[in-house]
């Protein structure tokens, strides 16, 4: 058992290192993706900043909005998952075959790729945020070690949920040519339910309630609120983490079912 764990760890180290080196060649392209990633939150922040003016909106003042959206940019980069795009391509263009012949499930390569990418962009966002916080008090966070640890846990769980759900989305390509369209639908909904347009408390209460029982806020809004201190009571924290664990387990279950059925179908059509 111990040998298996260290074996997996060695393999992961190798996969991450390989992905890191590949990413170095694409650093300009990655920087441009980062610009797109921060554009929408920054623009949304600019509008909320103007709306809040000198007062506050739904309990959020200008500084609160600034902290929320800066935290959102960081958490978004740290939970990013883009697997649906290349898995869809793998399945439709036959690139899955040689990956299936490897001893490791292709999902490990995807996870390592994901981690290596985030090590770069996450660090960049963090450094830029720290720099901006030096001159702009509004975006500073007062973070004790306890809350920091909770935030890290929430972010890791959120990244896992987002990764597995988008991976499953990609695997739908075993059955449909519209897997990427479903991904777009998913993203469109998450604009509201994951807190990208506004903190969830600013949405109509019915919408926020529905969001609270789905996985969307636990991929983004919940870790953001833990980081900014928007979620403080033990009850709220427990409920949030509880939902995160539930949805992660649910999505892993869906992944297992979809992967085995999908492979059977893939093999059956002579792919």
């Amino acid at each position: 058992m111990n040998g298996r764990v260290t074996g997996l760890a060695t393999r992961y180290a190798a996969l991450i290192r390989a992905a890191w080196l590949t990413d170095l060649q694409y650093r300009a392209a990655i920087a441009i993706w980062l610009v797109l990633g921060v554009a929408q939150p920054l623009i949304t922040l600019a509008v909320w900043w103007a709306v809040a003016g000198g007062g506050e909106v739904g309990g959020y003042g200008q500084a609160d909005f600034a902290r929320y959206f800066f935290a959102l940019m960081l958490v978004d980069q740290l939970t990013l998952a883009w697997d649906v795009w290349y898995i869809d391509r793998w399945i439709r263009e036959g690139e899955l075959n040689f990956r299936l012949a490897r001893p490791l499930n292709p999902i490990h390569e995807a996870i390592a790729d994901n981690i290596a990418y985030k090590m770069k962009t996450g660090t960049l966002v963090l450094v830029v945020w720290a720099g901006i916080a030096l001159v702009w008090p509004a975006v500073r966070l007062e973070l004790g070690p306890g809350r920091l640890a909770l935030a890290v846990l929430a972010i890791v769980l959120a990244a896992a949920i987002r990764f597995v759900s988008t991976y499953v989305n990609g695997l739908l390509a075993f059955w449909t040519t519209r897997a990427t369209a479903i991904a777009e639908l998913h993203f469109g909904i998450s604009l509201f339910l994951a807190g990208r347009i506004a903190p969830l408390s600013l949405l109509p209460p019915a919408v926020a309630d529905v969001a609270g029982v789905l996985w969307f806020p636990y991929m983004l809004a919940f870790p953001v609120e833990v980081l900014t201190g928007g979620v403080t009571t033990a009850a709220d924290l427990l409920r949030g983490f509880g939902w995160q664990c539930f949805w992660l387990a649910a999505w892993i279950g869906v992944y297992r079912a979809v992967w085995t059925r999908g492979l059977r179908r893939y093999g059956a059509v002579g792919g």
């Binding site: 554009a39 929408q40 600019a46 509008v47 909320w48 103007a50 369209a181 777009e184 506004a198 600013l202």
Partner: protein, 273 residues
Amino acid sequence: MPRSSASSRPPRLRLLAVLRAFWSANLAEELAYRANLVASVLGTVFWMGTAVLTAGVFFRQTPALGGWGFWEVVALLGVFNAVAGVVEALLRPNIGRIVQHVRQGTMDLILTKPLDPQFHVSFRRVVIWRGTDILLGLGLAGYALLRAGTVPSLASLLAFALTLAAALAIVYAVWLALMTLSFWFVAVENLEILFDSVYEAARFPVTAYPRAVRFVLVYLLPIAWITTVPASALTGRVGLGTAAVALAVAAAALVATRLLWNAALRRYTSAGG
């Protein structure tokens, strides 16, 4: 060397004939995929819906964004969608591919042809089913005007047409300038994404932003001229005077990017490529 009969025809007629040649095969190919049309319409309706809902989230907390009422903002979103349709139909499939031409060497083939390379690179393909974005966007703008109770005067409609034409010319110039950078940054595959990032700011009237951002969007990145100005003309906030300024800005942008393009070509061909 004797001049051929083809080159003695007036240049404008020849360009139209070239366009027809380019696009007829294109259209036949695209129209064969009717499922794409349905998917495209559904997708556009979905994204327009999310844009309107987004505006709705803001308007739950405030009666106006930068002095614009809800239906005025929706009219602007219609203009945003229509311009995005032109980008997807004509700009991204053509100018967006310049870096591939440079990397694969097909740019050389384009340069040897008797047709102006900028024209060739700009209008080779048209993704026709993106025309639905333009129609749906204009439709949304019209519906929003109805709900706002504004009936645009003839002068407003004319100003709208002129400012929209200017907006499209400016978008074209921005795309060309951006993709001309591919001649220098051949290794970067996704330069077009820079446009998408900045274009996100065109979803709101520039008055909705803090003053410093507003300055940038009017004088530095011409986002204001792309959606705010045409939408303002449609709702009667600005008139033919502004339209004239918009056309002047568009003309300046086209001239500037033409010069940039020529400089890039000179550098490209002089490197022996």
